[in-house]
């Protein structure tokens, strides 16, 4: 019910923005023009400020609001395909996020066929490979699949809105930067990030995309557990960039009533 009302609410919000903007411009003109003629500078400034703010209300956009149900419906089939791929290949190992650097570049996820010394630490150059099925060693079992992280798009959006490269962010600042970024995108609030030894525990409260995340948890268990849902994957990818180390998802627990998610990530030495 909430998702059906969302587009209507967004439309109403746009209408009220236009009304407020026009009202401020008209009030500004009504105050400013007579004040200019009479030479009353403070009143003229008041009219000018009012018109200026009115123009800004009209010109500067509110956050783009696409219905989350549309987003969920469009993203779900492609993620279901990855789930089927993981099932068909019977991949039971957790995906390893390969660290990369550079703004807008997201780590890729290597899901090994089996854990071997070679697949535990896939080569860093793999992050730039265009192949899906890759071999990282000499033995036949040193193989796996290489996927774009489901959260790579969100990660790029975060970096774009924060104007930074997570590879240059120290782990101590990662929590505050992620919180600012997620808030700017209007999808979540990061409540805590605790780094202890080789693990990072992150708690988040989702304001959007919760439907998608909840659906993925039930419809794509293997993908959610081994590679991560888009939000969880974003956190793993950001952590991998910030630490410049391989990262695995330890656990991701969704608290449905409170729309919270607790993620534990493992940093691989």
């Amino acid at each position: 019910m909430d998702t059906n009302q969302e587009p209507r609410r967004a439309l109403k919000r746009t209408d009220s923005r236009i009304a407020v903007g026009l009202l401020l411009i008209v009030v500004g003109a009504v105050l400013g023009i007579p004040s200019y003629m009479m030479g009353i500078v403070p009143m003229l400034a008041l009219g000018l400020a009012s018109s200026l703010i009115g123009i800004m209300v009209l010109y500067l956009p509110g956050s783009a609001s696409v219905s989350t149900s549309v987003l969920t419906d469009s993203a779900l089939p492609s993620l279901l395909n990855i789930e089927k791929l993981l099932q068909d290949l019977d991949l039971d190992e957790r995906g390893i996020y390969i660290p990369v650097a550079g703004p807008g570049i997201a780590p890729r996820v290597f899901v090994p066929l089996a854990l071997t010394p070679s697949t535990k630490r896939p080569p860093l150059g793999l992050a730039h490979s265009r192949r899906i099925f890759v071999t990282v060693g000499k033995n036949p079992e040193d193989r796996g699949i290489l996927l774009d992280a489901p959260g790579s798009g969100i990660l790029s959006d975060l970096e774009r809105s924060l104007h930074l490269d997570f590879a240059r962010v120290p782990l101590s600042d990662l929590g505050s930067e992620l919180d600012s970024g997620f808030r700017a995108l209007g999808i979540a609030k990061l409540t805590s990030l605790v780094h202890q030894d080789a693990s990072v525990r992150i708690e988040m409260e989702l304001t959007k995309l919760f439907d998608l995340e909840a659906k993925l948890m039930s419809l794509t268990p293997r993908l959610s557990e081994h590679v991560g849902t888009p939000i969880v994957s974003t956190l793993a990818a950001a952590t991998s960039k910030a630490t410049a180390k391989y990262v695995k998802i330890g656990s991701a627990v969704f608290d449905l009533p409170r729309k919270k998610v607790n993620v534990t990530l493992q940093i691989l030495a």
Partner: protein, 83 residues
């Protein structure tokens, strides 16, 4: 609250407070008001940042306009002093 709404409320508060204070001080130069509006625009935008990519693009254009207005006022004042 949305970032852009926060920015607009902050900017409106700063601009209207400026008018109130300057009118109490008896300031009669419109350029002083406008120069402060321009500076306050940058202050509000920094306090409310970060913005999403489309908002940031539009805000950058508005910032350029504000900077031009501010530069125009400064140049005019310099010419006045030199002349």
């Amino acid at each position: 609250m949305e970032k852009m709404d926060l920015f607009l409320i902050l900017y409106a508060t700063l601009a209207f407070s400026t008018i109130f204070v300057l009118s109490l001080l008896g300031e009669d130069g419109l350029d002083v008001y406008v120069a402060l509006f321009a500076i306050e625009f940058f202050i509000a935008s920094e306090l409310a940042s970060p913005f999403s990519a489309p908002q940031y693009r539009r805000k950058t254009i508005a910032e350029m306009v504000m900077l031009l207005i501010f530069a125009g006022i400064v140049v005019e004042r310099i010419i006045q002093i030199l002349g």
